[in-house]
Amino acid sequence: MVQRTSKKRSSRKILDAYQIAQRAENGQNSDDSANDASDDDLVVRDGVMDASRLVGKKKKTKGRKGKDSDDEMEDEEIDSDEALGSDDDYDVLNSKFSQTIRDKSKKLKDRARAKRNGKKQIESSSSEEEDDGYASIDESQLVGLSEAWDMDDKDLAKVNKDSKKNNADGEIVLNDDWESESNNEDSGSDSEDDSESEEEEEDEDEDEEEDIFGNGSDEDVDLKSTLSNIQSKLTKPSKERKRLLTETQNENEFSLPTKGAKLSLNDMIAGVDSSVNSNAILIDKGEKVKSLATPLPKRIQERHDRKVAYDITKEEVGKWEDIVQQNRQAEVLSFPMNPSVKHNDSALTFKSDNVPTNELEKKVHNLLTDSALLDDKKEATFEEIATAKLSVDDLKKRNNELRLMRELMFREEKRAKRIKKIKSKQYHKIQKKERLRNQELVEGSDMESDGEEHDAKRAQERMTLKHKTQSQWAKSMIKSGLSKDASNRGELEEMLRQGERLRTKQLGHEEGEQSDNGVSDIEADYDNEEEDESGSRSKLGKGVLNMDFMKEAERRSKAENLKELEFLRQVEENDGRELLEDGNNNSVNLTRNQGRRVYTPSVSSMKNEMDEVDRRAVQEIEIDESKSLGKRLTKDPKIGKSLKKAEESDEVAEADADEDFNPWLSTDSNTKQKKSNKITLVDQSSTKLSKASQKISKHSKKRTGSAVDSEDAEIDLNKTLKIVDAFGSDQEEEEGANNSTFKQKDLIKEAFAGDDVIQEFDDEKRRVIVDEDDKEEDLTLPGWGDWAVAGKKNKKKKVVRKIDGVVQKDNRKDKNLKNVIINERVNKKNLKYQSSAVPFPFESREQYERALRMPVGQEWTSRETHQKLTMPRVITKQGTVIDPLKAPFK
């Protein structure tokens, strides 16, 4: 069996080799511009050849075990090839196709052979060689191309030798040869186990091809010699040769025989770098990478993809749900969502860094830096420098000076404190005088130098009243506000001070000498004046004051004043009690009697008041005198009594005044007094005295009741009210009124008896009710369809139409109302302000009207509510960038 199969195989291989050789020959012989026909022929021939091979192979593989799987493999290969072919030319594809098929068959054969070898343990050198050749090639075994060619030559020689040696199995030799050839041609990618790196070979494939053919031509001699051998030995040429169109011939770098194996990343990397770990992820591990399951149909796969994608997206979007919900439910959305807090800068806000921000600040800053005023450090250094510049002696001197000054200041301070503590008036007086003298000495020199001028100035001041606030300038100053200009204010103040000084001078005493020595002071004034009179007054010359009557008046007043002074002096001396008790009864006459009669009752009352004042003064004096407590105690009731007495007298006086009260001469003060009397409060807490006085006053009022008085008039008014008022609450009054009204009512009834408006109204209402009620219309046509015979009875059939009225009789609003007719007609103009159906989101009228009940306008709600309800749904701040919504989960 082995023999046979190997023979068959070898024979075919020989044939193949022959073909190749022939083709090479053709290729060499024929020009590049060989005509298509010859090409076609060639192709066809090749196709025939290939097909025969294919058929043969099929025949062989028929009985084998792994047939199915092989078939599958084949399919796969074809698929991949197709995929490859899409890129390549037709020829390439064809060649590739044929190549792969060829490889496949070879592989199968190899496998089978290996199996057999494993079984039978046949140690055939050729098969071992083959196996070795396919199993593994050491990198060390790899050789350069030139060497390879040499080796080839050697091989060839060897083979020749071998063939010569083993004449018996020349086929096997040939076979070997072929294999080596093919190995060269396909550059080691024909076996799946082949780990040989092909890069170099690929680069030189084209050269190789030529060389191959070269080799072929070299071998030609051998081939030709063997051809006859083969042909003679080929017992069974395959009969079923079918012509298939498969191009296998045009081999190039793209038509790599892969033998169905894929180039793995591992393979590629292994060639580059041995250090790469085989555990690297990208490198697919192990030889037993299972074939992948058939992919799902695209449609279904896409559906699955979409589903998964949807789920992912859903989950992603789901994260937003909360925030979207929140935003949807929010009444107001204001953008930007989280504005950065901005403090408004004002003059009051504290800023830690004084970096100039605006133009002005910058300018100021620059100015300060330029003038070296900005840094206080600089100043310090300056000072330091100043002191540093001083020499040691100077520094000492300066320090001493400073110390001296300090010492002096301290002493002065101490002295001042001591002096301040001195309480002696004498000392202070002396001190003051001294000071004044000193001052005078200083001023005096000035005064002496231009006294006249000073006087003139003073006079001018007096005349122009410049020192008062009456002058136009001062007025304007005041008007415009004093605080505006410090200098102006100073001037004004100075002026006023000047005026004050002058005034004090006018009065005659020096500044700060206003003493309160009582009468003596005034007397002294007078004395001064008298002294003056002869001098300064007379100097004034003509004027109002110099006129006779003025002088007279002055004199008179002076005399009076002097008298008063005398009196006061007396009072001062001997308590003046006698004087007061004397009761200067003639005081009224003295003061008021000026040649006119006084009608006012106030005169007498005034007199009384004066008396009262005197009396009080006396009492006070008495109280003052009585120093012991006992004395005082005994005196107290007296005081009370006296007070009471006083009051009484007052009342009496008042009553008198009332009695001869002349309304034409009434003064405001009087009436006021009266008013106040009217509102006197008498209650539990008030004293007996006040109560008594109240009583008295009442009594007095009663006494004078007959007189026409304002108070009495009021009382009368009350009375008159009672008479006049028709709506009085008193029983009698009411009765009386009722009587009168009863009569009136009767009268009215009589008056309106004729036209019974009520009846008319009721009639009208009845009419309206009938008019607006539903109506029935009889549509029967009388006589229609009847015989006009006398004896014919009336038919009962009626045609009636109902007409809807405005409102049914029983549904009227005014059904139970008396004297009222309510119009039930629909106001059509109002209808346009009503909605004919419940608007969309609402389901019932109640819901809608409930939503409506809150007015939005600011007239009906509080400001806060109005603003809240009218706030726009979305508020955006102008000029700000509104960022897209940020999810909080990020």
């Binding site: 008014l717 008022d725 549509l779 008396k818 309510i822 103009k829 819901q847 409506l852």
Partner: protein
């Protein structure tokens, strides 16, 4: 300290509630979640708004005070002099008398914010006065009868009903318009929110004139003779007219017939007054009756008697009813709450018949126009103490007035919105569901004339000459053949059917078939 409301204490919000409680209960639940959420939101807003409104009451610091009598005193016995002495100087200064004896009884009116006083003497003396300062705005002598004077939306314009026409003048007394349509009107009123000048008078016509556009909105014939009295209901802008037969009719510019009619008095109505909230109406008639009506229920509450027919009535913001009868002015308090036995205040203007009384808005002052001039009386507690400056500002500046004018023009209501119940605007028409047609019914509406209720009228004559009968007649009587027999049988059947139908029509019950259905066919 008690007036300070602590935060925890619940505010009394009852005053600010809107809508009926029934309404709140009914619409509680729906299945629609979104709608429910919306309703809840509305409810929440409403609640907040009510709370907020109630809390603003804190700002209303002013309180209306009334006269209070101690012991035996009666408030109606206080004289104006006494009151003016007791009150503060500024209030006392508001009491004044204008003695204008020449130009006959004076009618008065105040501008809406109470700043300006308009007086019109019957004999043509018209003047506008800033009564607080006493500054005379304008004074006119029109030399013809003046029946009524009315200030328009602000104190810049006023209308005067003169002998024949009604005129509009501006503040300076310049005649702006002569309203030709308003002939012989004796009563004027102005609806401020609709800008409608309303006039009625001897012609018996009621005319609405839009003063902002200058068009006559509507005119209706009352058919009740010369109108005696006219006042507006401030709540719903319905005009109340008093007529010679003692009825009061209520009018809107949208209906040619009165919205309601009330028979109030037996004699002619002399005057009427409606309170600010539109709840009560006081009507005085020539039958010396003063009747108080509840306008919500249209029921008479009380009747008072006036010694002489009350010529003028007015109700203040705080619900004081003042009655002018003869030379007297009587002020009644709480008349709408209960029957009063005695008045609140009394005043007599000796020898001067009262023509018109009118309360000053936001003031405790009652203006009285009478035979001999105009006087103002102090009525403590009459005016609204807290005014809304956004609405009417007694102290408004010129700028504010101008802005208010523009705003009110923008907010002007259409005359069509006037109805008895103004709250009906914006709501769902109750009749709408009955009016609306179902989809199938629309076709029926489009082909009018075919009313199924009207049966076709057919002559009731029975067809005597049926074909069979005529055929039978044609045939010879004595010939009896198969066909004749058949015809006769058919005729008989026909007759039976006819009779049966007739019986059915008449409603006579069918006589019971003795034989039963099985044997009946052999009959």
């Amino acid at each position: 300290m008690s007036h300070i409301v602590s935060a925890s204490a619940p505010l009394d919000t009852s005053k600010y509630q809107r809508g009926s409680s029934k309404q709140q209960k009914k619409a509680r639940y729906t299945k629609d979640r979104k709608l429910n959420a919306g309703l809840k939101k509305v409810d929440r807003q409403y609640k907040d708004a009510v709370q907020s409104a109630a809390s603003t009451e804190l700002l209303l610091q002013e309180d209306a005070g009334y006269l209070e009598a101690e012991g035996m005193e009666k408030t109606f016995k206080f004289k104006q002099d006494e009151i003016s002495e007791a009150v503060d100087v500024s209030t006392a200064a508001k009491k004044f008398d204008l003695k204008l004896e020449e130009f006959g009884p004076y009618t008065i009116d105040y501008s809406r914010n109470g700043r300006e006083l308009l007086i019109a003497g019957r004999k043509g003396h018209v003047a506008s006065i800033d009564w607080r300062t006493g500054a005379l705005g304008c004074e006119l002598n029109l030399n013809e009868t003046c029946h009524a004077i009315k200030s328009l939306h602000n104190d810049q314009y006023f209308a005067v009903a003169q002998k024949k026409y009604t005129f509009i003048y501006d503040k300076t007394g310049l005649e702006l318009h002569r309203l030709k349509q308003h002939i012989d009107s004796t009563l004027l009123d102005f609806l401020p929110y609709h800008f409608l000048l309303v006039s009625a008078g001897n012609t018996g016509f009621l005319k609405y004139h839009d003063v902002s556009t200058g068009t006559l909105v509507s005119e209706y014939r009352t058919k009740l003779g010369p109108t005696q009295a006219m006042k507006q209901n401030p709540w719903n802008a319905v005009m109340h007219l008093g007529h010679g037969n003692g009825t009061v009719s209520l009018w809107s510019p949208n209906m040619s017939t009165p919205l309601a009619k009330i028979q109030s008095s037996r004699g002619p109505v002399r005057d009427l007054a409606i309170d600010r909230e539109g709840r009560y109406m006081a009507v005085s008639g020539a039958d010396k009756q003063l009747k108080i009506w509840d306008l919500r229920k249209f029921k008479e509450i009380d009747t008072y008697f006036t010694p002489t027919p009350a010529t003028s009535l007015d109700i203040s913001d705080n619900g004081l009813l003042s009655v002018g009868w003869g030379p007297h002015v009587t002020v009644w308090k709480d008349v709408f709450k209960s029957k009063q036995n005695s008045p609140y205040m009394n005043h007599l203007l000796p020898g001067s018949k009262i023509e018109k009384i009118k309360y000053v808005p936001f003031e405790d002052i009652l203006g009285v126009g009478h035979q001999k001039g105009v006087s103002s009386l102090i009525v403590p507690g009459a005016g609204e103490a807290n005014y809304d400056a956004l609405e009417l500002n007694p102290y408004e500046s010129a700028k504010q007035r101008q802005e208010q004018e523009v705003r009110s023009l923008l907010n002007k209501l259409s005359p069509d919105t006037i109805s008895m119940d103004p709250s009906v605007i914006g709501t769902v028409d109750k009749r709408a569901s009955s009016i609306r047609l179902k989809p199938g019914q629309i076709n029926q509406v489009t082909t009018p004339g075919e009313d199924e209720t009207v049966p076709e009228i057919r002559p009731d004559v029975q067809g005597k000459n049926s074909k069979l009968r005529s055929h039978l007649r044609k045939k010879k009587q004595n010939v009896i053949d198969q066909r004749k027999l058949r015809i006769e049988k058919n005729l008989k059947m026909e007759k039976e059917i006819r009779q049966k139908r007739h019986r059915e029509f008449k409603g006579i019950p069918e006589e019971k078939d003795l034989l039963g259905p099985a044997l009946a066919r052999f009959k």
